[in-house]
Symmetry: C2
Subunit: 682 residues, 2 copies
């Protein structure tokens, strides 16, 4: 379009331009050193999925996540475990899941052994362990499934149960024949080969499951030839598998050649190398047995002389594995690494740290530990009450059809399930009864003894008998660093009978990268309202109800065990935000709220823990037990929110005023019974 | 329970207590003067509904709102209007609705006159005016409905249409017989009496509508007796009416007696007195005619000598009405007052202000003007683009099934309807064509002329011909006080061809009661990300795309009219929060976002306004028109968000860098055509 445009008056001189020019020149010089191709079409965040929390991106399958990591050249690792034999072993394994999750594995998988009732309901079954990893330990989880000794119908049944639990990934194997059966005979109405199993899963479940298959870089021991084995691998992939994990191998070149041979016949999906850390001399023999491979002579030469020095062998194994994987990474032949952990931790963690794959600092997409179940992928807000008990929360809400996203909402929240068995093994304390008695008191003489235990826990000091109190029934771990910010104040009040079980300081626009209070994506600002939750006696509650109107910026809610006493200045159904953050490029995230209805569901759990975890340590009818029961039946659970987060928290003033009010009442009262039920006065 | 509790060691002395005691004593002394009965059961917010925005409380019917005001003794007012005769009258009436809404009426109502096609589709029909008041002016609205000359079927049809539009309240009347009909004969299949109409509405629509009925404190002119008329009123109420509005009256005692007589026969619903301000001598005669009442002699004695001095009469009327109502309020006989405005403003507003009923300062529950349609009661988040055009937004989204609450969400937003007719009368400019030409230029010679108009608008100064520019096609009002904060910077850039149509400053935790940027409930803190939206030429856009990567904290989106050019660094579907607030006792409110999909729907409207409102002022083929068309087809619409709201906004640096980059390019380029299309360079 050619329009004659009359020259207008010179634009006003802009004060900024003379300075802006040299600065801009410098910027532009710098930029020439950067990537010059800037694509301004919509930024494809899909390439950086792993940076974005799932409540923002929506659920992405393991297949998509692997693809994303490949595209951004961000190496990953995965961990394989086997189901333990005992319940104690299961408890330990879950604790191991929690610890190893901190390193940021892309997924974990759980093996399947038909002889061990892998699809059953026991704490030690493959299905239960896989479900716990997914739901209670927040790990993307893959379940192995074998064809051996199962009919199509049985297999479908197990897969349906896996689907119900929320599992989205299956490693499809033929499996090992039962012990002693030399010639494997597939069952009637069963499968001959893993490729049949893959086809069956696709037929019955469509795209619901991501399917992985196994490969043997040196060829399967029972294969007719290496080339035939690769052809068979292609069949498995063509039947519908998404990616491949290999058996272990000893030389980088083995894997490199194998990958090239796969690509040559048209196998194009991701191929992940498997490694098995050498833990000891015996484990080397274990490796040989499991893999049916011959250990290369140079490795045997090094290891044999050290057969009494397991630590040296382990260190050698760590070094050797790192060199191997590093060679694959440098050759750009592997997108990540899959570790056969044999349920052990030390060597695996050391290898991953040396390779630089272990997350430097644990990332917190949200202040609370997220579950990995795809049904919960949009979940980004929870009541604060379960901050120390996320597994209990997941358990009690597992039946919900949908999970709150964005806001908790003001309608009645759906019902919380009950914790059927307080010894639910997911929540079993890692401490023995003896250890708990040592920490909490072999015997209790008074309420003050109970208060002293809380005091010792909060301060991290020893109790009367010199034992460090590292947990309480409401928190199986030591105080978080965030709560430590409040330690001094908490300690004093606990000693005086304000038994705190949950708290957070106020935060006014801290960086989302703050090491103590930060969470979510970088570049944001996080906020918190000061919060305190505690058990205390009736006299204190009476005092509180009198002085709280002097603190209109406080929202409070007070309940007793039965719920017959219910005091609050909150709107019946309105939740109060207590943690939120503002980030670049997104809406406001508000991950934690205080909600009157959920508090009622929580109090049953909180009151119950007195008896279930502490009271039951003592004989029935003992004084110690009576003291715990007395507290359960006569104390109240109180939560306080200080809405004025930019100001210093006034919660301590509230508590001081509470005690001061009681003192005033005593000064007024002339009668004071000798046998006061509660001597929580000064 | 009597448990022997051993006395524990004295609690640690608390450093706070000695100081706390005297302070607490003082507090408690003060408190004794306050209401001693503090009910700590859940605070019943229902008694204070009018303080809480609807997106928090949910929709409450007019009946509930009236009850709530009665319970809290918070007097209210309502306004009655009649449908205008001309389209121009309708435009003026809507502007009057907007202005009078600032005073905080509890509801307004619109009369129904069968002769005027009240249920039709025209701009002037009762139904259209009532719908506009509800949807476009944010007023709780009641529609009159009469029985005269309509069959049951016709009445039901009208009520259904009212329901579709969102109206929830009906004033059920018999109505006046058609002019000249001495004896009223109801139609076949019609209604005799208002009580029949009330019954019919309840039968056909259940509780959907709140129903009001009229009463005559001095008895209906056609009633057999005063007592019979009250009996008949009771029939109407028993048939299902929720409250009563009375005809006007002249003496307080008239109304007081009437209310007592109603209560004596068991009429217990709210009774609201109606008043009609005297505007002039003629209006007094109008009153007599409408009400069929005799004006009391003392009033006639005062007014008659003043019959040539309308202002004196109006002042007398204001005084007289205020005394009347005040007497009713002091006697606690009226919950509020209903004003027959006769579509006029001055006397009504004066009376309500004198009575202290007119809102002191306009409250902003949200930064944007809310609609009153119950279907939108949960709506609390909108894209920022329609900040100056809320009516257009309501129009284009009226068909949505549900409205965003809490979050905008990341799924595809539903489709926006088109603005069928840019002259849609709801959006018709209040200025005439002559006024617009005077402000925007009788003729345009260059793009700079257009830029100068923007500059004059932003600075509030006169244009070339000495005319103050008080509006632009995208904003029918003068700059808001909030935008005035940015005036200097905006002015300079507009002059240079950055044609801003929307902006907001960054705000970091200002009080929610701040007079300029505050909104929502008191005691909260509000936040904003700095935002800028403007039209500009291609050369500037090219420069922007080069320098924006130097400002990673900026989210941007750039579109041309057709959408063929679409540049952004936002995730395709993810909205960005630009306004939010944290308040006591609630979740985070996030009322304004920037959303890529909505921006595409908005740009059609924004680009269209060039031609529809400005271009069309000029003859076809004129240079002025061509310039506007050139801009429409060649300029781009840009929006910028500065995510780092705690820091000073860098948006001006972005624009300076844009111009600096262009200058650099020119210095590099040796060829420069004489006839540059765009001389927006320095």
């Amino acid at each position: 379009a050619s329009i004659m445009v009359k020259e207008g008056p010179a634009a006003l001189p802009s004060p900024g331009t003379p300075t802006a020019l040299p600065i801009l020149k410098e910027f532009l010089n710098q930029r020439e050193h950067l990537n010059s191709e800037s694509d301004h079409s919509h930024a494809d965040d899909d390439a950086h999925l792993y940076n974005m929390p799932e409540y923002l991106t929506g659920y992405h399958s393991l297949s998509e996540k692997i693809q994303s990591r490949i595209e951004s050249n961000d190496k990953f690792f995965s961990l394989e475990f086997f189901p333990p034999r005992t319940k104690g072993g299961a408890v330990n394994l879950l604790a191991r899941f929690d610890r190893m999750r901190e390193g940021g594995p892309l997924f974990c998988d759980v093996t399947w052994h038909p002889a061990g009732n892998p699809g059953g309901d026991t704490e030690t079954s493959s299905l239960t362990i896989a479900g716990a990893a997914l739901n209670y330990c927040g790990l993307e989880t893959m379940l192995h499934m074998t064809c051996c000794n199962m009919t199509k119908t049985e297999i479908t049944k197990h897969l349906k149960r896996a689907k119900d639990i929320g599992i989205r990934n299956i490693l499809a194997l033929r499996g090992d024949p039962p012990h002693g059966a030399e010639d494997w005979v597939p069952p009637e109405d069963g499968f001959n080969y893993a490729s049949d199993l893959v086809r069956h899963i696709r037929k019955e479940f469509g795209d619901y499951f991501v399917i992985c298959v196994a490969a043997y870089p040196m060829g399967h021991p029972e294969a007719t030839s290496y080339e035939d084995d690769i052809k068979y691998l292609k069949e498995k992939v063509d039947a519908g598998a998404n990616f491949i994990i290999t058996q272990l191998f000893f030389k980088a070149q083995t894997f490199i050649k194998f990958v090239r041979d796969c690509r040559a016949v048209g196998i194009n999906c991701p191929i992940i190398p498997g490694i098995m850390p050498i833990q000891s001399y015996d484990s080397l023999r274990h490796i040989v047995k499991l893999s049916k491979l011959d250990v290369p002579q140079d490795i045997m030469d090094f290891v044999a002389p050290l057969k009494d020095n397991d630590e040296a062998i382990r260190n050698y194994g760590i070094h050797q594995t790192c060199m191997l994987i590093k060679e694959l990474f440098d050759a750009e032949m592997a997108p990540g690494v899959h570790v056969y952990t044999l349920n052990r931790e030390v060597a695996t963690t050391a290898i991953l740290k040396q390779l630089g794959l272990w997350a430097a600092a644990p990332r917190r997409p949200l202040p609370w530990k997220m579950a990995a179940n795809h049904k919960r992928s949009g979940e980004d807000v929870r009541p604060i009450f379960w901050a120390s008990r996320p597994k209990a929360y997941v358990y009690r809400t597992q039946h919900w059809d949908e999970f709150p996203n964005g806001r908790w909402g003001s309608s009645e929240s759906p019902a919380f399930g009950e914790l059927k068995d307080y010894y639910l093994f997911y929540l079993t304390s890692k401490s023995s009864k003896e250890q708990l008695l040592a920490m909490w008191g072999e015997s209790l003489e008074s309420e003050q003894d109970v208060w002293d235990v809380f005091h010792a826990y909060v301060t991290g000091t020893s109790n009367k008998t010199g034992k460090k109190v590292t947990k309480v029934p409401w928190n199986d771990d030591e105080l978080s660093s965030e709560t430590s910010l409040l330690k001094e104040n908490l300690a004093d009040f606990n000693k005086r009978g304000v038994l705190t079980i949950n708290s957070q300081p106020n935060v006014n626009g801290a960086s989302s990268e703050d090491p103590v209070v930060g969470w979510g994506m970088p570049g944001g600002y996080v906020y918190q309202k000061a919060y305190l939750e505690f058990f205390t006696c009736r006299e204190n509650v009476d005092a509180l109800l009198n002085i709280l109107p002097l603190f209109p910026r406080i929202n409070y809610h007070i309940l007793n065990k039965s719920g017959s006493a219910d005091f609050s200045n909150c709107h019946k159904h309105r939740p109060v935000a207590v943690t939120w953050g503002a980030f670049p490029g997104t809406e406001i995230i508000q991950p934690t709220i205080v909600d009157p209805l959920s508090f009622k569901a929580w109090k049953d759990e909180a009151f119950g823990l007195w008896e279930e975890q502490w009271g039951k340590l003592y004989p029935e009818e003992s004084r110690s037990r009576e003291i715990i029961q007395y507290i359960t039946n006569n104390y109240y659970l109180v939560n306080l929110v200080d809405n004025d987060y930019p100001k210093d928290s006034c919660l301590w003033d509230v508590l001081e005023s509470m005690f001061a009010w009681r003192k005033l009442q005593e000064e007024k009262s002339e009668d004071q019974e000798e046998n006061n039920l509660c001597i929580c006065t000064q």
